[in-house]
């Protein structure tokens, strides 16, 4: 091996250790307080299943040919993934800014992309973990078998990554703890509820149906629904293009913010 190749290998090994350290810290952070981070989504989803699925759902009948309870499972699971991936990164990175321990990373040789990868992977793992828990709860109420396990898992992970990136951007711009709850309350919740979690967009009048197509959450919910049930309001290919495009844009924005030190350097 040439000296240059050896140096490159050593550098990548160093990046890997930094990434693993950051990821380990992030996973420990949410798993130490699992009662606050994992359990709430499981309880909320159980209530959704009991109230919307069983009590009200039986009166609604079927949607897109599925029992209402089965129809809402993908959306509820994805809602938990979105909320948790987002809130994990936004609260973790903002706390590190607020208490200034983000400086531990800024003075280290870790390049911006490794720092971003560590935080996003931590958020994505929490999102996926909570998603799996909610899925297990769902299995108590339904007897779903995934239509395509590959697509289900892919959408699961991509959605978690996308919203972890969203949480990171929110944290960079946040100047107070209030700022980290504004986006989840006023942007994320409406997008999720109007993203076809509880209904098929075929039920909406023409204008609202077209407007719904501007909602990125709609594509994720439908792609996930396709993975689980084999049905979707929109073409699967388009859903993946939209999800990947958002991930690409959010990644570039996050890296630029980190490299310029926006919100973290004077």
């Amino acid at each position: 091996m040439s000296a240059r190749a050896g140096l490159a290998l050593a550098r990548w090994h160093r990046y890997w250790i930094t990434f693993a350290t950051l990821l380990n810290k992030e996973v420990l952070r949410f798993s130490r307080i699992w009662v606050q981070t994992i359990l709430p989504s499981a309880i909320t989803t159980t209530l959704y299943f009991v109230v919307f699925g069983r009590l009200i759902g039986e009166r609604i009948g079927t949607m897109d040919g599925f029992a209402y309870m089965d129809f809402i499972v993908p959306g509820l699971v994805l809602m938990a993934v979105i909320t948790n991936a987002y809130s994990n990164v936004v609260s973790s990175f903002y706390s590190s800014k607020f208490s200034r321990y983000v400086e531990e990373l800024l003075v280290s040789p870790a390049p911006p992309w490794v720092i971003l990868a560590g935080y996003v992977a931590g958020g994505a793992i929490r999102g996926v973990t909570v998603g799996v828990v909610v899925m297990l709860v769902a299995m108590l109420f339904t007897d779903l078998a995934p239509h395509s396990l590959g697509i289900t898992l892919l959408v699961f992970v991509l959605t978690a990554v996308l919203f972890a990136l969203g949480g990171f951007i929110n944290a960079v711009y946040a100047n107070s703890f209030d700022d980290i709850s504004i986006v989840p309350t006023f942007v994320l919740a409406p997008l999720t509820y109007l993203g076809g979690v509880f209904y098929s967009i075929d039920l909406l009048p023409g204008f609202w149906q077209t407007l719904s197509l501007l909602n990125p959450v709609l594509y994720m919910v439908n792609a996930f629904r396709y993975g689980l049930l084999g049905t979707s309001d929109i073409p699967l290919g388009m859903a993946f293009v939209i999800i990947l495009a958002f991930i690409g844009v959010f990644t570039l924005v996050s890296l630029r913010l980190l490299a310029r030190g926006v919100g973290i350097k004077h």
């Binding site: 160093r14 950051l22 208490s99 321990y101 003075v107 004077h266």
Partner: protein, 314 residues
Amino acid sequence: MHALAVEQLRKVYSTGFEALKGVDLSVPEGDFFALLGPNGAGKSTLIGIITSLVNKTSGSVRVFGRDLEREPEAVKAALGVVPQEFNFNLFLPVAEVVINQAGYFGIPRREAKVRAEMLLRKLDLWDRRRSEMRLLSGGMKRRLMIARALVHRPRLLILDEPTAGVDIEIRRTMWDYLRQLNAEGTTIILTTHYLEEAESLCRHIAVIDRGRIEAVAETGALLAKLDTEIFVLNLKQPLKCLPSLPGFALTQCDATTLEAALHRSQSLTELFAALARHGIEVGSMRNKQNRLEQLFLEMVQRGRGTRAAAAQAA
């Protein structure tokens, strides 16, 4: 080679405040260097830029010959920083803080644990390794910041007021440890408000004020610039009336205390001899003011005076 070479470094904050006005500074490898200045002089901004916590407006920073802008990873790997304010995750255990920092520098976890144990033992924190950060005293947190800054074995250690709020005993222990590190080859740059600390530890001193370097000199040479030094003399017997001692400026504070302003050309032996001739016996003696403090104030005031005069002339 210089451990640090800063050229024409400027920083203008978004508010328009110019914190650094073209700073030039170099620190030789292996030096123990003090950066002194009043509050708001630009010390922390300068350290912030060197350690990548503050974005510069213009100028350059080189660490062991490597440019911070072109080779940030190499520069950061060579630097250890102890900031002025605590910057910890307060809910992490002590050992975890040091081990994580090692991980950020690419040190494998097994090796990180060994280094963390060595440093925590050295800085008397090993017994508290499982305590959460928020449960530590101020002095312990200061020592932990030193352990954290050293875990990747930096060649240049920068300490921004490391002993602020630390009691005398711990301060002396920290001084001993810093001296040992310097003796082992680590270049150390220190900012401090305790001028006694700079005088005791550092071989070179730079004085910064209002974003400009006012002076850089060897500590001994800087102290030699002092023309007058004031001593407080405690007398063995009470003195009713202070006799006139030609050539000496003496002031009586109370019955058993005198203050003597001694010029550089005069010696203490001459003073004691003159006092003895009047039957005055000195029991003990101390400097009224820290010598460096006196010099520091003189230099800062002189620098401000020169600039004000230049501005008026313009």
